[in-house]
Each structure stands twice: as C-alpha cells, then as structure tokens.
Symmetry: C2
Subunit: 348 residues, 2 copies
C-alpha cells in the first residue's frame, strides 16, 4: 500500500488462458501495474454515492491508494536497502526457506481456474464479516505463471506507469492481479524481480519474503540472500518480493515473519500497523499439489477487509501451504480477461 | 428471484460498447439469461471456503437462486395471468405512467459509462453497511440499449437456457445484466418482452411496472394495459416487465407500488416479504437527462444486500428519476465485456 495521492508501481501476477497454452506459446504473464491516484475520500454520508467519478471498469482505469497514509515515504530508490525496523540485508548464506515441486501434468487442459467468493469470517470479537475476493489456481505454473513488469518489458527500469488492465490486455492474460511493492514517489519496483527468465533487479539481499519458480520447476518461498537471487545454476525464472510470509508449510507464520521481514517496502506504516490493519489484500503461494495459488481480497484500509493474521488463516482454509503477502490496499485490482472483476477500494 | 434449485430464465439488459457504435452498427443488447441452479448452500463455518465449486468467472457459468425459497411456484405459463394478491390484468385504458424523452446527443462519443461502487448506507437501525455494485449510464438509449432474450433470438418462445455471459458475448455487449422474471419450472419469460422492435410476448395486461422505449425515443415507465403494449402507432421497440415500481418522478414509490403490482412474477414469497427482504438487486430506470440507468447491487437473500425500500432510496441518491425493480437474488449477474464483474450470490 502506498502513500496518499502518489504515483504507484505495482508488480502483478497473471496467468494466460488455456487457449493460449494450446494454440500459441508458453509466454504467460504477471503484470506490473503502476497507478495514479485520483481519488477523493469516501464519506459516510447516508446514501451518498461518494465515488461518482469511479473509474470505468475494464477501460484502463488508474488506481491508487488514497486511503492509505504513508508514514515511511521512500523518495530515493536506495532507501529500501536501509536498516529499517531492524531490517537486514543478507548477502550470502542459506536463510529460512521452503521449496516445493511445481505441479506438472500435461493431461490437464486448463492452465488455471479462477473462482470468486463471498465468505463469512468470524472475527476475534466473535462477530461475522463478509470477505469478497477471488482465488486463481494455476496448473503447470512453470508454463502458466509469470511475473510481468508494468506496461510490459523494461517497465521497472523505465519506471513505467500502467494499470493491471492495460498490461494484462497487452499480454493477453487470463487472470492478472497487482503484486509487488513500489516506491510511491520514485515509481521504482521494489525487491527482487525476475520475469520469464530475465532478472530485472535484485533487492540486494533485503530480508523480505519472496515467491519464485526456478528453472527446473521448483517453487521457492523464502528469504533470499543476494547470492541466492543471482546464482546461475538452476536460476529463478520468476521471482517477486513481498512483505510478510503469511503461511509457511501449512501453518500461520505471521508472528515469526513480523520479526524478520523488513518493513520498508511498504509505505503504510510501522510493521505492527501494517500487519494489523484491515485492508484489501493479495497473496501468492502454492497448494499441496504444487499449483500456484493467487488470492485477492477486497477491502478499504482501516475500514474493511482483513488483517494479515486473518488473511493467513483464510489462506490455510483454502489449502494454501506456503504464501507471501503482496501489495494490498488501494492497489488491489483483480483482472479477468481484461476486465476488472473485483471492487477496488480506490476510485475517483 | 426464483425457487431453490430450479431452472431459471432471466431477462437482462446490456449495452454495446462505444467502439461498436462508431465502427459497426447500432444493434445493442439486453440479455435474457436463463440459468441452471447448481449451488450448495453456503454455511457460516469459520473460514470455510463454502463455495469451493464456485463457477469460473467469465467462462459461461450457470447461476441460479439456491438461496431463495419459492412460495409461489408457477408450473404453468398461464399462472401469471391469475389474480394473485389482488393482482389485476388491465386490458384497456390509461394506467399510471411516466414518460420522458430519451437522451439524444450525437456529439457524445461513448454510448455508456459503467462505474463500480462500494458505498456505505445507514440502515434504519442506525448502523452502517457496505453496498457493492455497478451503475451503467447509457447515452442515446434508443441506439445503445436493448432487451435481449436468453441465448439470443427466440430465446423466450423456445424457453432457452443461457447465461448473461454467454448471451452477452454472442452479442458483443459492453455491459449486460440479468433483468426480467421467469418461471422457474417452465423456464418461460414473464411479463412483456419487446426486443429491438420485435414484440416477443405480452403479459396480457398484468399489472406490473414496466420499463420501455418507444420508437420515437420516449422512455416509458408505467403499468401497461394490454392495449398499450400492442398498439402499432409509436410502438415499443424495447420493453421489459419488473415487480415493484421503485422510484417515480424523483420520489420513492415502493409503498404505492406494493398495493398495485402483482406479486406473481416473482417466486420468493408474498409481496411484503419480497419487498422487505435483503437481497442482491437490479433496477432499470433513467435520469433527468433521459439517459437509461442500470443499477446492480450484490447481496445474498435474507443475509446481505438491500430491501426495496433501501434500494429505492439508493437509486434516488444516484439521480435516478424513474426506475423499476427487476429480478434479484441469486440471478444477479453483472457482466462487463463478457466477464462477470460482480460477486453473484449463487455458486456451486
């Protein structure tokens, strides 16, 4: 989640449709979506249609995070290397990790399956709340899943600004969602980025949870040293960095992760606030069959949505084994066949 | 809203995209969407993904109204002519009506504009609830707005079963939503249906609120006698029948309408229950510029969504001048560019 009325870059995850798998190529996409914030705050006035100028869905709207205040602005792209909240960088060595063989089944026709849901969650106070969102399960992820830069190739180095819709349509994705964090002032992509076998940037070993796939199809969920990211043997073909490792090996890992993950990639606030606040959320992970799973939840920061504790529990209920938390809040946009299919918090 | 686990027919409203207006033709569509119910009831279990088998969005899912119990099943297509709840049929004469010149502006490029919203409503008990939905505003409705049968032409007489997605894609619509009521047992379309100048069926003068456009572009919102529907001078080119006239000439008309509208077209229950229950809702109406307005609200019957009182107030807040209530509940599906863009209550 980035600062109020700032220009944002988001790394997103998408999947090509099965038709493309069969008829064209294996080039599948994760969309990097920068967005411009043009939102006015929603009021609580009775029956007021507060978003009279809400973006037209499916037509390249620009979204941002007006609802999320920034307490840790990163005006320089180097900022996220700093030691923030005890944040470390790890140059070499074997940090905490989970690896898992990716699903590989040539007899499965569909490369992915997306479902929407409106589920009831019991809050810690004992009352029920509705959770709206989507879940995409991706078969044969080595072929079907990609990380994609905003606006396409060179989007990170050029600090391009685009939307999930535009980038998704340009790549012909079936499902696409925003993913990585970014500097709201600089527009810079943050963390490690590897897309379709091309290493775009590395985070200098910054300690944040990563999700990636190696060349041999191994799914990797872990903290990565700089060396891990740069190694040439069985290199990463897809890689994205998040903030907070939500689920590890089938258990909630938020507490442990809070003490480890650097808070700097996100601009909402101190780690505690970032973890506890209700908001729209996005996660990428995998299930016990090695299928990649994308989960998006609608919300509005500080009002509606899930905390990361709730989000982690929710992911477990979906059968997710490992998952990291990606950019949430006003950035959260789930696009299906080029059309926004969720209710993003931001609108103008 | 139709009965639990029954086969449904729904008349829907859609709009062609601006590109088609400019480049191809003026043939715009309202989709009739029959649906097959294959839903299991959602439980309130903690964190349970109760709709594990939720339909894949955007891929022609079949939806129905499992959550809505039927108290007035119509097994014979003639049933809705009966006198139910003091329901009358009107053969001739001038019944209550509102007419309005349709928006006509050749300099307006876009034929429609769709926005999503998540708004807070204050309930009568004083607490706030979130309302998720879409609003489509249609310019030059005489050219841009159509009523369409399920699965395309002859859908009503053949009692075809299709979805909003399928029918919308076949017609290349920009926006589409379910609309008219239908017999869950028979699959028959109910009420008056006129599509693109072709009169499909008439309701025999059954007293229910109608929404239509005449050949000269006049928007008509009214109770119609059989004679009104059948007249050849300035005939209807588009016409659909609902249950309950929500907003009349800028005021809430639910109370007056309750005493007049026949309850028989809907299968949820007695008129009072139908009006008061919380549910997903759809309305068609117009604003003070003569633009046709479609409004869809997400919900889950008896749990979430709006009563018709709340829905009428909400429509007023959107600047709607006249509007009728169309089929709600599990049928409610809003499709944008061929992709489901809301969170339908029903899923399997």
């Amino acid at each position: 989640m980035a600062g109020y009325q700032k220009i944002l870059y988001i790394l997103t995850v998408s999947v090509f449709i099965a038709v493309f798998v069969i008829t064209t190529n294996n080039n599948f996409n994760v969309i990097l979506k920068p967005a411009i914030n043009r939102v006015s705050r929603r009021s609580a006035d009775r029956f007021l249609l507060s978003n009279k100028d809400a973006p037209v869905k499916g037509e390249g709207e620009m979204l941002g995070s007006s609802e999320n205040r920034s307490l840790l602005p990163f005006s320089q792209s180097e900022e996220w290397h700093r030691h923030v909240n005890g944040c470390r960088t790890v140059k070499i060595g074997d940090t905490a990790h989970e690896t898992f063989p990716a699903h590989k089944n040539s007899s499965v026709a569909s490369s992915s399956n997306t479902k929407y849901f409106v589920d009831k969650l019991l809050t810690s106070r004992g009352h029920a709340k509705d959770v709206y969102g989507h879940r995409t399960v991706i078969n044969n992820p080595l072929r079907s899943f990609s990380v994609v830069e905003p606006g396409g190739p060179n989007g990170c180095v050029e600090r391009k600004r685009s939307t999930v819709v535009k980038t998704s349509r340009a790549r012909g994705c079936h499902a696409a969602v925003n993913a990585g964090f970014f500097g709201s002032e600089s527009g810079a992509c943050m963390g490690n980025v590897v897309t379709d076998g091309k290493r775009i940037q590395d985070g200098g070993g910054i300690k944040n949870a990563n999700f990636g796939i190696r060349k041999d199809g191994t799914i990797v969920v872990r903290y990565l040293s700089e060396m891990d990211v740069l190694r040439e043997d069985n290199p990463f073909v897809q890689l994205v960095t998040g903030v907070i490792w939500l689920v590890r090996n089938g258990t909630v890992y938020v507490n442990e992760s809070k003490a480890q993950d650097c808070a700097g990639l996100q601009e909402y606030g101190p780690m505690d606030k970032f973890v506890n606040v209700l908001s729209a959320r996005v996660a990428v992970g995998h299930d016990d069959q090695g299928r990649v799973v994308l989960v998006q939840i609608d919300g509005n920061t500080e009002e509606r949505g899930l905390s990361l504790w709730e989000f982690a529990e929710f992911l477990l209920s979906l059968g997710v084994v490992n998952a990291i938390n990606l950019d949430g809040g006003g950035s959260v946009t789930f696009v299906l066949d080029g059309t926004v299919a969720n209710y993003p918090a931001d609108h103008w």
